[in-house]
């Protein structure tokens, strides 16, 4: 061993030793540099970095309290919230990105390439939304395979749910992401980009009641943004619950009856204008809007020629046809143009100037009085008396019964049209011709009416002249169950016409259903007296289509609209109904049996209530007082 030292290795030289010492000094200097840096970071700037690490650790997470629920008048659930599951991915945590994306693309049915590129461009440390609202099955699969796919996680957010799907969709409405324009307006009221708010129907009009309060909770998060624990919670303040005036069973029944038609059914409580059912067909499924509607679905809805999103009940404007004879009746009797028992002779023709106006019935109805003119819907009776009344007086009575202006029920409501000389001059720069008055007299001219106006008209006839503003929201309860708001019926006006005249008109309408020659005998119920009126509104002048064509031979838009309005029981009205079949191509009497079915369904269901209230109001004429206690149930 010793030989090595002597033979091959000379002892360390002084120069070498000196250099080693220099090394030591250099090393020490550099380590001192690190010491200075540590002093600077930890002692001098320590407090700043402590704050930064707290900022890292604590995240403020937005919490959206659940939206209030919507119920029908009997507490049946119409809209609530469900948990939806969203898949997120934090790229930083993923072991095998390609394999993970392949799996996710497969289970969410997205193209692999696109998803891969989207993911690759995302911030690797922040969770990236792969797909919102996945199915429970997909969720279960992911939960089961969680350990194999690190970086993938599922988060829960509440979404709106409408258990009755397509039913009552127009009145419930739907949710949608807040638009930029809405955000401008709502910024101060706690709305943020990406928030959902009601965009239609009750969801929209009652947004301020329904929306739950949002706020921030403080949570401890890890670097991947995962919540580990709540440092300071946010106490949820859910939205208020809304009870509608709707009777969902009745609504359902109406929806099912009307399944194959387009148009609308409106059912009112004539005693206060509460809406018991409101159907608009075709309808849509509001659930597809809940998590943001897919472009494909939206396009389909927008391009559908039947416009399923349109609420025909309040926005559809149609010629009233013969249901306008109800208004005409009031005008004729109140203006004393004809005595109720005075008969005119109907030959089926009314020559006026160079034109001949025909009755719907060839050969006419013979001698006919007021009641029978309604019962048989005699056109000639109204041609003659309408001509005597003149357009201005007709317009006056139409407006009196709420036509020509929205009922005030909803913001998007249309007003219909009450033609007059002034209107025509404004619209066509042309004077009114008397021949046009004759068409208007049978609801055929320029006049337009919405289904809700028609329903309100028949309800007003039923209750003896109280034109109520139709309403849908019965009451609003806060989450604690206290009443925040309760609807009071609002009277638009009391019709200034004597009860005797109402009685005569009602009798005419009763004869429509129960009379020997009534046009709606199909609507007769064995045990309940009912009053109604049919209407068939032509969409174009007969000149252009000729008379004898079958509806199937005509393009849809040229087919007749069919009306039926009714109330029951005759003595003590509890339900008023208006049915419109849009371009149904049928006589109004076609829908009379629908009304019969709905009325008997509702009255049987409410037998006790109606009997009880009939003792107090039966036979008594209603007073002119705006707040009649007896007429509200």
């Amino acid at each position: 061993m010793k030989e090595w030292h002597f033979n091959s290795n000379p002892a360390t030289s002084d120069a070498l030793k000196r250099r080693v010492v220099i090394f030591g000094l250099c090393f020490g200097l550099v380590l001192f540099g690190l010491f200075i840096r540590l002093w600077n970071l930890q002692v001098i700037q320590g407090a700043k970095f402590r704050t930064l690490s707290e900022d890292n650790r604590i995240a403020y997470r937005l919490v959206q309290s659940p939206r209030g629920m919507v119920f029908d008048s009997r507490g049946k659930l119409l809209a609530d919230n469900r948990a939806s599951f969203n898949i997120y991915l934090t790229r930083e945590n993923v072991n095998n990105l390609k394999q993970t994306i392949r799996l996710l693309a497969e289970i969410t049915e997205q193209p692999y390439e696109e998803l891969y590129n989207r993911t690759r461009n995302a911030n690797p440390f922040r969770p990236f939304l792969i797909k919102a609202d996945i199915s429970r099955k997909t969720m279960a699969f992911l939960e089961e395979h969680k350990p194999d796919y690190p970086g993938v996680f599922v988060q829960v957010t509440p979404l709106r749910r409408y258990p009755s799907k397509e039913q009552a969709s127009h009145l419930l409405g739907y949710m949608g992401e807040v638009s930029n324009r809405q955000l401008q307006r709502l910024k101060k009221r706690d709305y943020r980009q990406g928030d959902l708010l009601g965009q239609y129907g009750i969801e929209r009009t009652q947004e301020k009641f329904l929306r739950g309060q949002s706020g921030f909770k403080q949570v401890e998060v890890d670097a991947y943004g995962r919540e580990l624990r709540v440092v300071r919670p946010f106490v949820e303040k859910p939205g208020n619950d809304i009870y509608l005036t709707i009777d969902m069973e009745l609504q359902k029944k109406a929806e099912e009856l009307f399944k194959a038609h387009e148009g609308s059914i409106i059912i009112l409580d004539p005693s206060d204008g509460a809406i018991l059912a409101m159907v608009s067909k075709p309808s849509f499924n509001p659930n597809i809007f809940a998590g943001g509607i897919e472009a494909r679905d939206w396009k389909a809805l927008m391009q559908d020629p039947l416009k399923p999103l349109e609420n025909r009940a309040i926005r559809g404007q149609y010629p009233p046809g013969s249901i306008f004879k109800i208004v005409m009746g009031f005008a004729i009797l109140n203006e004393k143009i004809a005595h109720p028992r005075e008969k005119i002779r109907c030959h089926g023709l009314f020559p006026f100037g160079k034109k001949i106006f025909r009755d719907w019935k060839k050969g006419g109805h013979g001698p006919i009085d007021f009641v029978q003119s309604l019962a048989q819907s005699c056109d000639v009776y109204y041609y003659i008396n309408g001509n005597k009344l003149g357009i201005e007086r007709i317009a006056h009575y139409a407006r009196m019964f709420g036509m020509g202006s929205p009922t005030g029920f909803g913001a998007a409501e249309k007003g219909g049209l009450v033609p007059s000389d002034a209107w025509k001059r404004r619209r066509f720069k042309e004077r009114w011709y008397e021949g046009e008055t004759i068409s208007v007299s049978i609801g055929q001219g320029f006049n337009l009416i919405t289904p809700i106006q028609a329903a309100n008209l028949i309800a007003t006839v039923a209750n003896g002249g109280y034109l109520w503003k139709p309403y849908l929201v019965k009451k609003v309860l806060n989450p604690g169950g206290e009443t925040l708001f309760e609807s009071q019926p609002q009277l638009i006006r009391k019709i200034p016409i004597a009860q005797e005249i109402f009685q005569v008109v009602r009798e005419g309408l009763k004869e429509v259903v129960h009379g020997k020659r009534g046009t709606a005998k199909k609507a007769q119920l064995p045990n309940i007296l009912m009053a109604g009126k049919t209407g068939t509104a032509q969409t174009v002048d007969l000149k252009y289509t000729g008379r004898k064509k079958k509806p199937e031979e005509l393009p849809r838009k040229f087919r007749d609209h069919s009306w039926f309005v009714a109330f029951a029981p005759y003595e003590n009205p509890a339900i008023a109904i208006a049915i419109l079949g849009e371009n149904a191509g049928r006589p109004g009497s076609f829908f009379a049996p629908y009304a019969k079915e709905l009325i008997s369904f509702y009255l049987e269901k409410n037998e006790k209530n109606i009997l009880a209230s009939s003792e107090t109001t039966a036979g008594k004429p209603l007073s002119a007082n705006d707040n009649v206690p007896g007429i509200r149930r």
Partner: protein, 362 residues
């Protein structure tokens, strides 16, 4: 035997085991695998190897230096073809349950081979170009192979170690000047050869806030971790930066950030002081070595430790670009731990054999 060096080594290893536990306790997978206990096992094995090596004179190792060097070169070539890919680099050789990082051995091989090369050189005269070229060739071969893996950090350190040993031997002034000029001239060229992510890391060093969620994220989060420890630290297991995974690679490359966050300024300067003592004792072994070979061996090893320490700590303090260099004795890692213990054993060996020399003279 230098008991102070041994004590510093043991204290640093113990600190490492504790900090590794703290770094992994929030990660259920790592915790289940008991990485801290594995590290304790590696350290114990390292300690045994250390004791074993002390029985032999370090000259045995320098005598076999060229042979060892050749084996390492072969391993480095093999790893390029069959190595296991981790984080996009081929660094590991797998033999059944054992995994070996040849670049760890390469460092030792270059130190040994250069100590042998310069140690056998008798004259006092500084090195000229002629002598430098074979030394350069010996150093650059493994460096290039390591850079190809790619493991730029390790390659660069090995190159610096070789340079330091050459400086220790003594170089002619004109050689230093020429190399200096060459280095400055080739720096832009080197930039050209760097990969995009490597450039970004270097640029981030000068402006870590430019892209706080991208390249600068790790650096920034590490600085926040260190700084937020303040004077006394957040307490063991209490580091939020660490526990909540804001720190990357926290049980390996960023173990010092965890330590600084949880034990504060007091803790971090204690560890720094332990490293300072460690370095000083190693250099003292070099000073007192029996021969030039021993001095150079100790100087090379000390430089290696020193570079690893400042690169790693510099990285966690945002002073160096982020390169995958562990903190010796403290970071988790079997290959690294065992090679550290072997290196320490060689230094202790150099320190011990001095006595035999004085005895021989006496």
């Amino acid at each position: 035997m230098d008991w102070l060096l041994v004590l510093a080594t043991l204290l640093l290893s113990l600190t490492g085991i504790f900090m590794i536990y703290s770094a992994i306790h929030s990660n259920p997978v790592f915790l289940k695998n008991s990485l801290h206990l594995k590290q304790a096992l590696w350290s114990s094995i390292g300690l045994c190897i250390l004791l074993f090596i002390l029985f032999f004179d370090y000259h045995i190792f320098t005598r076999w230096a060229y042979f060892f060097y050749a084996i390492v070169i072969v391993l480095l070539i093999v790893v390029l073809f069959t190595g296991q890919v981790v984080y996009g680099a081929k660094r590991w050789l797998v033999f059944g349950p054992l995994r070996l990082q040849p670049s760890e051995l390469a460092r030792l091989a270059v130190i040994l081979v250069l100590a042998r090369y310069f140690g056998s050189r008798g004259e006092e005269e500084p090195i000229g170009f002629k002598e430098l070229i074979p030394a350069f060739a010996l150093a650059i071969a493994p460096v290039l192979l390591i850079v190809r893996q790619p493991d730029l950090g390790t390659g660069f350190t090995v190159f610096l170690i070789a340079g330091a040993m050459v400086l220790a031997v003594g170089v002619k002034r004109r050689v230093i000047l020429a190399i200096g000029c060459l280095a400055i001239a080739s720096a832009p060229l080197g930039w050209f050869f760097l990969k995009e992510y490597q450039r970004r890391r270097i640029l981030t060093l000068f402006n870590p806030d430019a892209d706080p969620l991208g390249a600068g994220y790790q650096s920034l989060q590490s600085i926040i971790a260190v700084g937020s420890g303040e004077i006394w630290g957040k307490g063991l297991l209490q580091g939020t930066q660490s526990r909540l995974h804001f720190l990357p690679e926290k049980h390996t490359d960023f173990i010092f950030s965890v330590l600084s966050e949880e034990l504060g300024f007091i803790g971090s300067i204690t560890v720094l002081a332990l490293f300072f003592i460690f370095i000083l004792r190693c250099l003292s072994a070099a000073l007192n070595a029996a021969d030039k070979e021993g001095t150079l061996l100790a100087v090379g090893i000390t430089t290696a430790f020193f570079l690893y320490i400042i690169f790693n700590i510099g990285m966690t303090l945002g002073l160096m670009p982020i390169v995958g260099i562990p903190l010796p004795l403290v970071s988790y890692g079997g290959s690294a731990s065992i090679s550290s213990f072997i290196a320490i054993a060689l230094v202790l060996n150099v320190g011990m054999r001095r006595k035999s020399l004085t005895l021989a003279f006496g």
